[in-house]
């Protein structure tokens, strides 16, 4: 009876430990509708007079104007004005599924895009036509410098997103992990500054910098793990879990095998 209870407790502890390590080693959370949009299409600009422009206006009025207002002027308390937001803002929000937003006031999170590629292009064009704003950048990671990228990322991005791009706390907001971001999305976010993220113009971070930063972001998806299993790449927390639930657990077990147990040696002369 006692033995069974102990085995049960030991198994529960081991399971809890394994769960803890697994939970920490998981890629961090996204919204329930999480999906990967690996599309990196070429964007052709257009004005709102063309057939695509008409389509864009129509889609906008249907799906976006309730919060962003007709003509994208914004609705107080609901959604910001998109005049001057630029096609990059629309493209980023739509391709990552952040927009349309389910709940006003909540932070927009990555999810399944609600529009198809053609529709997104149309909407991008429409929003871009509302006023001068960042164009969709052409980001080529292979043209960037990895070491420049790491340096820029450390100085500019790591404070929120973490040096390994695994996400972080921003008090009042969540800086998401970057594992699913395409190079274009990285460039767009830098130019646009979505939600509470700061934004950076060409004067501060030029095209070469975008290439370098996105090249580093690409590295963080598959970093150099010369030391073995990476356990989540977030540092001492999973390391501590392994030290306790793998090493100490194993050594306690070995000690138990080596030594005596009270109920068996009690009564030994």
């Amino acid at each position: 009876m006692r033995r069974a209870r102990r085995i049960a407790m030991a198994s529960a502890a081991a399971l809890l430990g394994a769960f803890a390590v697994a939970a920490w080693a998981q890629p961090p959370q996204s919204s329930p509708r999480a999906g990967v949009s690996e599309l990196d299409p070429q964007i052709r600009g257009s004005s709102s007079d063309t057939p695509m422009g008409e389509e864009g206006r129509r889609l906008f009025e249907e799906g976006c104007s309730s919060c962003h207002g007709f003509d994208g002027a914004g609705v107080p308390g609901q959604g910001p004005s998109l005049r001057g937001a630029g096609e990059a803002a629309a493209d980023f929000s739509l391709r990552t599924g952040r927009m349309p937003l389910d709940q006003v006031g909540e932070q927009p999170l990555r999810g399944e895009p609600r529009y198809g590629d053609d529709q997104i292009r149309a909407l991008d064009a429409y929003v871009g036509s509302l006023g001068p704003g960042p164009a969709i950048p052409r980001v080529r990671p292979d043209r960037g410098s990895l070491s420049e990228g790491m340096r820029l990322f450390t100085e500019t991005c790591a404070g929120c997103h973490g040096i390994g791009g695994k996400g972080g706390v921003a008090i009042g907001a969540y800086a998401p992990p970057l594992g699913e971001a395409t190079p274009t999305e990285v460039g767009e976010a830098i130019r646009v500054g979505p939600y509470v993220m700061p934004r950076f113009s060409e004067a501060q971070l030029d095209q070469a910098d975008l290439d370098s930063i996105s090249r580093y972001v690409r590295l963080t998806r598959d970093p150099n793990d010369a030391g073995g299993f990476g356990i989540g790449h977030i540092g001492p927390v999973p390391e501590g879990l392994v030290a306790w639930f793998a090493a100490i657990a194993a050594l306690l077990l070995i000690a138990r095998l080596i030594g005596e147990r009270s109920d068996s040696d009690r009564g030994r002369a």
Partner: protein, 301 residues
């Protein structure tokens, strides 16, 4: 489990020998991997772990089988047994007497004792005093700052920071021109907000030309570098513009001049007054407060 190994002695010895032999092979494998495989960390680790583990297993098996197991009983030393302590009175008395006897012949014990204490105090004070020579200078050391009226702001590459480089909602790290970048007081974080958003106190009204604000980059709680800038694109439904420290999440409101709004920091973030000089950003005066964590010499506003 090992205890219940019901191996006959001869078989056990063969098992032990086999384990030791395999351990030897694992050790040689380590050497081979090192010499010929370029030292793959994982394989090297496994080889050594096997070598050590197999020896360990051999020893544990040996301790339970091939070698005789006996349980014996032994008495504890007298002093350690409850109740026996009183029997130790003789030994304690003996040692105490020996110690006391050494003092025989010394008559003025109190006088000598007091004099010895005085000597000790004096010497101790003398030994500790040189630490105090850090004293008056500590405040100066910890309070030093390279920022004065007219000190230019430069980027990490040393080039002057131009006002036009930052757009609204942007931030950059800058340093005092000519200062060591590792000097805690030299690093500032420059942010840009809409001029209309500013809520600076009256005496700081002209500290933020074009909505550009500069603050010490070093958190006043525990000295980490403040590397988060939060700037909402829709202020109505998001938290306001702020600088956040990644260590313990102290949050400073930039619009009011660096007041703490969340987290364990107490002192507000020191602000550097700015002015624009031929398109470049330049300090208009010194930082508004001491840089870094608080200590005894720090005055709070």
């Amino acid at each position: 489990m090992i205890r219940r190994l019901l191996l006959p002695a001869a078989a056990a010895e063969l098992v032990i020998a086999a384990l030791l032999g395999l351990a030897g092979l694992a050790g040689l494998a380590f050497v081979a991997l090192y010499a010929f495989d370029g030292g793959d960390t994982q394989l090297l680790g496994v080889a050594l772990a096997l070598a050590l583990g197999l020896i360990g297993a051999a020893l544990l098996v040996a301790s339970r089988t091939a070698f005789k197991q006996r349980q014996v009983e032994e008495d504890r030393p007298e002093f350690a047994v409850p109740g026996e302590a009183s029997r130790r009175e003789d030994a304690i008395e003996d040692a105490t007497e020996t110690a006391r006897a050494g003092l025989d012949g010394v008559t003025r014990r109190r006088l000598l004792g007091a004099a010895g204490a005085a000597a000790g105090l004096g010497l101790g004070a003398a030994a500790l005093t040189p630490v105090a020579s850090l004293g008056p200078r500590v405040g100066k050391l910890l309070g030093e700052s390279p920022w004065h009226e007219g000190t230019a702001l430069v980027e990490e590459n040393g080039l002057p920071l131009r006002a036009g480089e930052l757009e609204v909602g942007s931030f950059i790290t800058a340093f005092a021109e000519g200062a060591d970048k590792r000097d805690l007081a030299a690093a500032v974080i420059v942010v840009r907000v809409e001029e209309s958003e500013l809520e600076l106190p009256p005496e700081r009204r002209d500290w933020a030309p074009l909505g550009l604000l500069a603050f010490s980059k070093i958190c006043t709680h525990a000295q980490c570098a403040i590397s988060l800038f939060r700037y909402p694109s829709f202020p109505e439904r998001s938290p306001g513009p702020a600088l956040v420290c990644p260590c313990h999440y102290s949050t400073f409101d930039v619009l009011t001049g660096g007041n703490r709004v969340f987290g364990p920091a107490v002192r507000s973030l020191p602000q550097l007054p700015l002015r624009i000089d031929a398109g470049r950003l330049v300090a208009a005066s010194e930082l508004s407060g001491p840089v870094g964590a608080s200590w005894g010499g720090v005055r709070e506003a």
